[in-house]
């Protein structure tokens, strides 16, 4: 929990001066709330607006927003087909497969490696750790053509499994780092006690250790899911048949008019579907997410 302690510890902000002591302080508080509300409005506006416009049927394409368009709401943009006869939900399904697949593969692989690297020292462990961290230094954007070529060789281009393998690889540095730290912070005695009881290494991992590092696993799953759900460039590069495209890529075809006239209502609906799952996950698992940001950053 070493690096997680900062975020996990309840925020103890150094409030300047005792609250509510002076008129100055009152004024400061009022100023804070005023500024905070204005900023909150600015931050929320694009998201809220996208939701509102996506509920306005086809009128959103041809007329500027007015009060009456904001009152007449319809779900038509969410139910109709996008140009090629495929529905928004088909692409969302592809995104879900990619995101869940990446989350599962990444969490399993990084949990195993994290335990191996933190607790089962083997010759070359330090080198292995460095190799696994390397994609963090050189992200895939710096080798687009060769990555594409490798996937073609392996017959994994234009497939969701291929995409999942690529996503997992480039999420591993962060996730193995998190899991290795999580395992390293479990007191050695807990593991030793279980080993003395005669359990095998693997059963200690499964029964004793995994429950103890659950916060780390939640963070890893969350980051892998959010990354894969949102990723654009690799999906754009690797997926060529329409039926396999993830949501962000399909929306690009919609936005560039590949399906004919650009349908802004549907594009808005698609963007909302692309945003909402991550927002909901974040609102539920906020602590795990922020813990990941600070833990990953403190290395």
């Amino acid at each position: 929990m070493a690096s997680q302690s900062i975020a996990a510890a309840p925020p103890a902000p150094p409030a300047p001066g005792a609250p509510g002591r002076s008129a100055w302080h009152r004024a400061g508080q009022a100023l804070f709330y005023l500024a905070a509300v204005v900023f909150a409005g600015l931050f929320l506006f694009p998201i809220v607006w996208a939701v509102l416009r996506s509920l306005q049927g086809s009128s959103a394409d041809v007329t500027p927003p007015t009060l009456s368009t904001l009152i007449h709401l319809t779900l038509a943009n969410y139910t109709g087909l996008l140009g090629t006869g495929t529905s928004l939900w088909h692409y969302a399904g592809n995104s879900l497969i990619a995101a869940l697949g990446t989350a599962m593969l990444t969490s399993v692989v990084s949990t195993l490696a994290g335990y191996g690297l933190a607790r089962l020292r083997f010759p070359g462990a330090a080198l292995a750790f460095i190799i696994i961290l390397a994609p963090f230094m050189i992200p895939f954007q710096a080798m687009l053509t060769s990555l594409f070529t490798v996937l073609v060789w392996l017959h994994l281009a234009n497939s969701l499994p291929g995409l999942i393998l690529v996503y997992s690889t480039f999420q591993l540095p962060f996730c193995v780092y998190i899991m290795r730290n999580s395992f390293a912070s479990v007191p050695k005695e807990i593991e030793d006690a279980a080993l003395v009881d005669g359990s095998s290494t693997m059963s200690v991992l499964g029964r004793v250790m995994v429950p103890l590092v659950m916060p780390g696993i939640v963070t890893v799953v969350l980051f892998a899911f959010v990354f894969a759900w949102n990723e654009f460039l690799a999906a754009l590069m690797l997926l060529s048949s329409d039926s396999r495209m993830t949501l962000p890529v399909a929306l690009n075809n919609l936005a560039t008019g590949l399906y004919g006239r650009v349908d802004f209502g549907k594009l808005d609906a698609g963007a909302v579907v692309a945003m909402v799952p991550c927002l909901v996950l974040f609102l539920i698992l906020q602590r795990a997410y922020v813990r990941g940001i600070t833990a990953g950053a403190l290395k």
Binding site: S5, I6, P11, A12, P13, P14, A15, P16, Q29, F32, Y33, A36, A40, F43, I47, W49, A50, P64, L112, A113, G116, L117, R119, L120, F122, A125, I131, M137, I138, Q141, A142, M143, L144, T145, S146, F148, T149, L154, L165, T169, F170, N181, P187, E189, I190, D192, V196, F232, L251, A255, D268, G270, A271, M275, F282, Q286, I293, A297, L298, K299
Partner: protein, 326 residues
């Protein structure tokens, strides 16, 4: 993480279980004791790490080696490849578009970074206190971080559409424009839009990092400074700022790294236009590879980007090591 020693030691000490098996250092690093059981455990350790190593070997190390190899070839998408030595690199030196794309990427980075650091710092100052409702504001400011760049780019695209977009509608209603401004067709406005999008989308990370850094500054230091008669500004400037230098370096590096790899917002919003005025390095590499099908040449361009990223990583390590004593 070595820098957090006191905090870490404290955290571990509290959770320590009475040592009833045998005494061993609790802290993670370096434990070398060859025991009979150790060999079996070492083998298991290697086997557990193997899946990660295989993934990284196939989808990172192999492409990394291949990109160097491809950069020495004329490598079309289909058909035979031909070894051409350093020809691609020679050509690269005369590639005005690539040079301009690097310049634009640098310009974009230079604009975005100070904005990101300043805005992140100010937001952190705003939300670091324990006032009622502050959690809500933290959440709201951080929310855009978790949604996709592509999705938010589409949202901005729609909001900026001439005639029907809400930004134009507001401009028209306020009498600032005729409501037909084509934001993405002008280099200056296009750049402005992508800067605003990036700031809105990622400033939450800077805010959270700064906030964590500020909260780790010991309260006593502020108290002491106050006793000495230092006002708010002075305490912020003389106490907080120096103690969060490492956080500042980190935010800088993260922002620079993110900006250098910019692709989504330019691909979706400006397409690198008008006239390649907003063409980033990654966007140009993508274009060379997947619109012109010149894989070998794109690989050579990638090598340049790759070297830049390695330089940046070295700078990052030095910045984080040599930073403050906090």
């Amino acid at each position: 993480m070595d820098r957090d020693q006191p905090r870490e030691a404290g955290a571990v000490a509290v959770r320590r279980v009475p040592p009833f098996v045998r005494r061993r250092p609790v802290s993670p690093p370096r434990r070398r004791r060859p025991a009979p059981l150790a060999r079996a455990r070492a083998r298991t350790g290697f086997l557990l790490t193997a899946p990660a190593l295989i993934l990284v070997s196939v989808f990172f190390v192999l492409p990394l080696v291949l990109v160097c190899w491809m950069s020495l070839h004329n490598w079309p998408l289909f058909g035979a490849t031909k070894f051409t030595g350093l020809h691609n690199y020679n050509q690269l030196l005369h590639d005005r578009t690539f040079g301009d794309s690097l310049l634009f990427t640098a310009e974009y980075t230079a604009i975005v970074t100070p904005i990101q650091v300043t805005a992140g710092y100010l937001l952190a100052v705003m939300v670091r206190h324990r006032l009622r409702g502050v959690g809500f504001f933290r959440t709201v400011f951080f929310m855009p971080v978790v949604v996709g760049f592509a999705a938010t780019a589409y949202v901005f695209l729609i909001m900026l559409t001439p005639g029907t977009g809400v930004i134009n509608a507001i401009g028209h209603a306020l009498g600032l424009s005729n409501g037909q401004t084509n934001w993405l067709a002008s280099p200056g406005l296009g750049l402005l839009v992508t800067v605003v999008l990036l700031t809105w989308k990622t400033v939450g990370i800077a805010m959270i990092l700064f906030m964590a850094g500020m909260q780790a500054v010991p309260e006593e230091l502020h108290e002491a400074a106050k006793v000495d008669g230092a006002g708010w500004w002075k305490r912020e400037y003389k106490v907080t700022l120096p103690l969060i230098r490492r956080t500042t370096a980190l935010v800088l590096v993260l922002t620079v790294a993110g900006a250098i790899l910019s692709f989504d917002q330019f691909f979706i919003l400006t397409h690198g236009g008008p006239d390649n005025a907003t063409l980033t390095a990654v966007l140009w590499i993508y274009t060379v590879a997947f619109f012109q099908y010149r894989f070998g040449y794109a690989a050579a361009l990638s090598i340049v980007l790759l070297l830049l990223l390695i330089l940046l990583s070295v700078a990052q390590i030095r910045a984080l090591r040599g930073g403050d004593s906090g």
